[in-house]
């Protein structure tokens, strides 16, 4: 008979838990199970590092500056709106 409780996570399952892990939404028990898997699995450890890097790369995109022409357009928009107010 198959032992149902305390079965170890397999990699295919571990990668599905990464977001919940990073969000801090795993139960304490699920978190321990996930971390126990990582401790014995360099590939999933690398995978988690890559998910963190993915988040970090996205977060480092800079908004492109407004062109001077756009600045003028928005200043005009503001002035038009203000004159509507009066």
């Amino acid at each position: 008979m198959k032992l149902l409780h305390r079965r170890d996570l397999v990699c295919r399952e571990a990668v599905e838990l990464v977001t919940d892990y990073l969000e801090g939404t795993l139960s304490a028990r699920a978190q321990r199970r996930f971390e126990a898997h990582l401790a014995g699995c360099p590939h999933c450890t690398e995978y988690l590092a890559q998910m963190r890097e993915t988040i970090s790369l996205t977060g480092r995109l800079e908004p492109e500056d407004l062109t001077p022409q756009m600045r003028d357009e928005f200043t005009d928009l503001y002035r038009r709106w203000q004159s509507e107010q009066q």
Binding site: R12, T58, L61, L66, M70
Partner: protein
Amino acid sequence: MDSDSELLLRLRSGDERAFVSLVERYHEPMLRLAASFVPNRAVAEEVVQDTWLAVLRGLENFEGRSSLKTWLFRILVNRARSTGSKEQRSVPVADPEPAVDPSRFGGDGGWADPPEHWIEAAERRMEAGKLADRVRGCLGELPARQREVVLLRDLEGMSSEEVCAVLALTEGNQRVLLHRGRSRLRQLFEDEFREVR
């Protein structure tokens, strides 16, 4: 740089430079988000223009119950949604979409084709200033609903609660979309940056 709440104060006292600063801060992020709701860039620009006007008109009634940023993005999303969608938006979240191509795992569920290394290569290209366009390109390849969540969470730094409010999502669906979006993006980065062997 002024905080949003300082800008809001200045804006309410009729300071036009405060408005331009606000546009400077949020125009591009709003365009990026709008683009995932509407058919093309031109329509996205129209939606964002409309949003700015709506923001000016609504300023008086903004009560500050949510952050200024959440309020701006909600106006945007409402407008973008009513302008029309470029794809079927009711993509069921319940459809399974594995984080990693199942063929990369063996019968025992362990990695058969493990993640290839790419972090160092990406960092080197980042330092050389050659990365931003590729990151933008990869984001553009995500399905719209996943991209919206990833942009707001990971680029705009919004909390999950804020994203749920802006996009009218449940907490659970927000997390599923975030998970799929980030997982897909990781795969795109792996394909893009892995060390050539």
